[in-house]
């Protein structure tokens, strides 16, 4: 196992073909964190608001002047638990992902390429105490910027890395499909614009490609790339 130029995590496999996982940089990490922070802040606020209204028995979020055990057990503790255990619980349940990581297209992996174990995730999240110092994850951010694998201290302790998920990769076109696309491209100018547009959208959507630019030339270029197997 090694890293090649801080781009890929390379893992030996029993097949003899190395597994290459692209390592996510600080940008993707920050993006995922910001989404997750907002999600858990909303969860925290939602619980607190609903529970406070129920506790107060009226439309008021205010904490009582003399808070009793019920206030802490019903309002404060569950909200704090949601906030502080968000990452740990979701990373276990979603096999190294969270809603933020999913949206950023990244996931946590251990150094053997598999999903991290519960112990590793626990240690990773305990070290947030250090990574979050002094404010706004300052230590974690600096360490992420200066390390070759863009990991924070918690990742170092747990042996985890953030890698791109590549879940958007779509299977290449089958040979018969490619022939169909080539046929359409050959007859492109002989077909009416509406007909070729519809056919192009159908063929592209079969390969998970959204024809977000409906311009004639753009559709043709996408089909052309597909016929050539998307050679970049």
């Amino acid at each position: 196992m090694s890293t090649h130029g801080a781009r890929d995590l390379i893992i030996d496999s029993v097949t003899g073909v190395e597994l290459a996982l692209p390592i996510a940089g600080p940008g993707a990490r920050c993006y995922a964190f910001l989404i997750d922070w907002h999600v858990r802040a909303i969860l925290f606020a939602a619980w607190y608001a609903v529970a406070a209204i129920i506790y107060n028995g009226r439309w008021s979020f205010a904490a009582p002047l003399d808070p009793d055990a019920k206030w802490f057990m019903f309002v404060v503790t569950p909200a704090a638990t949601l906030y502080f255990l968000y990452h740990f619980v979701l990373e276990i349940a979603m096999h190294g992902r969270t809603p933020g990581k999913r949206l950023a297209g990244v996931r946590l992996v251990s150094r053997d390429g598999g999903p991290p174990g519960v112990g590793a995730l626990l240690i990773r999240n305990v070290f947030r105490l250090v990574d979050s110092l002094p404010v706004l994850y300052g230590v974690g951010l600096v360490v992420t910027l200066v390390t070759r694998e863009h990991v924070r201290i918690g990742d170092m302790a747990a042996g985890t890395l953030l890698t791109y998920d590549r879940s958007e990769a779509v299977p290449p076109a089958h040979t018969s499909e490619i022939e169909l696309i080539r046929e359409l491209l050959l007859r492109w100018h002989s077909l009416e614009q509406a007909a070729r547009h519809d056919l192009a959208v159908i063929l592209l959507s079969r390969h998970g490609i959204d024809a977000n630019d409906p311009a004639d030339a753009a559709l043709r270029a996408q089909l052309d790339a597909l016929a050539r197997d998307g050679h970049k």
Partner: protein, 356 residues
């Protein structure tokens, strides 16, 4: 598991990740044919990828379906090796890289048996880690005790130094002849007090562990500061004739609470030592192994602190519990902790221990 021993699973499979080999006209024609043949297999890749995704969520149709993943993995590896050579910058390669990674992740995922894992952790692993950390625990305890004595001596000799360790409110209360713990139940209910105390103690323990990252110095400072504060406060209370009352308050929960401070300090010290003197050559690898290993002790610490937090909330502040009962609770809980951590409580008989 050695991966090299199993490497010949696909004889001659290339491992290069980039750069197609320069080709002559004859090899170009052959490569073109290979590309076409490779693309014919895309439905098989799709099927293999769908299976890997399904199995990742534990949705196997039957045993044969699950076993098929191993064949899929080899097939994807074989085709990916070809795609890396024949079409290094293509959607085909991107897709195969992703499908291969998913199959690898699913294939190497550990079985998920939370009950058995928890049982093994609490019954076998934590006592084993504690035994392994015995020297660190001894050192952490020695540092804590020595700094507590140092704090006591400092404030006993120079009472004005209490300002370094205690808040002005606490100092004023003691100078009025009262302990700051008196009447605490009139202000905060026991349940809330327990929750606040155990949360605070768990955070301090986690900090003592994490601070080991600074080559063990952070842990040393936290242990030392806590020891100095304890000694200083005791000395200041003694100067005002309140030490017996403070002892009465502390003894039910303090035996375990202070021991847990030493345990988490020991875990942090082990992390620091792995960075100062890496036993496995590579400093980062040693740090990772020490953090994962000693981190198990923190789980025991957290559980023990829940117990001492409850005692501190429900037992310690009450005036109607006599000293002998407080001693029984404090020492009894401490002995229970020692019995558990040394494995006496969970040790299985030789008949049921299984093979060595």
């Amino acid at each position: 598991m050695s991966t090299d021993a199993l490497r010949p699973a696909i004889p001659g499979a290339p491992t290069s990740t980039d750069a197609p080999v320069p080709s002559t006209p004859s090899t170009a024609a052959r490569d073109q044919a290979l590309k076409a043949a490779l693309l014919q297999r895309s439905p098989i890749w799709k099927s293999a990828d769908d299976r890997a995704k399904r199995l990742a969520h534990g949705r196997a149709k039957d045993v044969a379906d699950a076993a098929q993943l191993a064949d899929d993995y080899r097939l994807l590896a074989h085709d990916l090796a070809r795609a890396r050579r024949l079409m290094p910058r293509s959607r085909t390669r991107d897709y195969l890289e992703a499908a291969y990674a998913r199959a690898h992740s699913t294939l190497y995922r550990s079985a998920w048996h939370p009950g058995a894992a928890l049982l093994s952790l609490f019954r076998d692993e934590i006592p084993e880690v504690t035994r392994g950390l015995a020297p660190h625990i001894a050192w952490a305890t020695a540092i804590f005790v020595l700094t507590a004595f140092a704090g006591y001596w400092m404030v006993h000799t120079y009472p004005e130094l209490i300002g370094l360790f205690a808040s002005p409110d606490l100092v004023a209360t003691v100078e009025r002849g009262h302990l700051w713990t008196e009447g605490i139940l009139n202000i905060v209910p026991s349940s809330v007090l327990s929750l606040q105390i155990l949360t605070n103690n768990i955070v301090v323990s986690l900090f003592a562990y994490c601070a080991g990252f600074v080559f063990g110095l952070g842990t040393l400072y936290i242990l030392g500061l806590n020891g100095l504060t304890l000694g200083a406060v005791f000395a200041f209370s003694a100067l005002h004739g309140l030490d017996a009352g403070l002892f009465r308050f502390i003894v039910p929960h303090g035996c375990v609470e202070l021991s847990v401070m030493c345990l988490s300090g020991a875990a942090g010290a082990a992390v620091g030592e792995a960075l100062v003197r890496p036993p496995h050559g590579n400093r980062m690898e040693s740090f990772r192994m020490a953090a994962l290993r000693s981190g198990k002790l923190l789980i025991a610490c957290a559980v023990l602190l829940v117990g001492s937090g409850l005692i501190e909330g429900y037992v310690s502040p009450r005036h109607d519990i006599p000293l002998w009962a407080r001693l029984v609770i404090g020492i009894g809980y401490w002995l229970l902790m020692v019995a558990y951590l040394t494995g006496q409580l969970t040790r299985r008989s030789s008949n049921t221990a299984g093979p060595p």
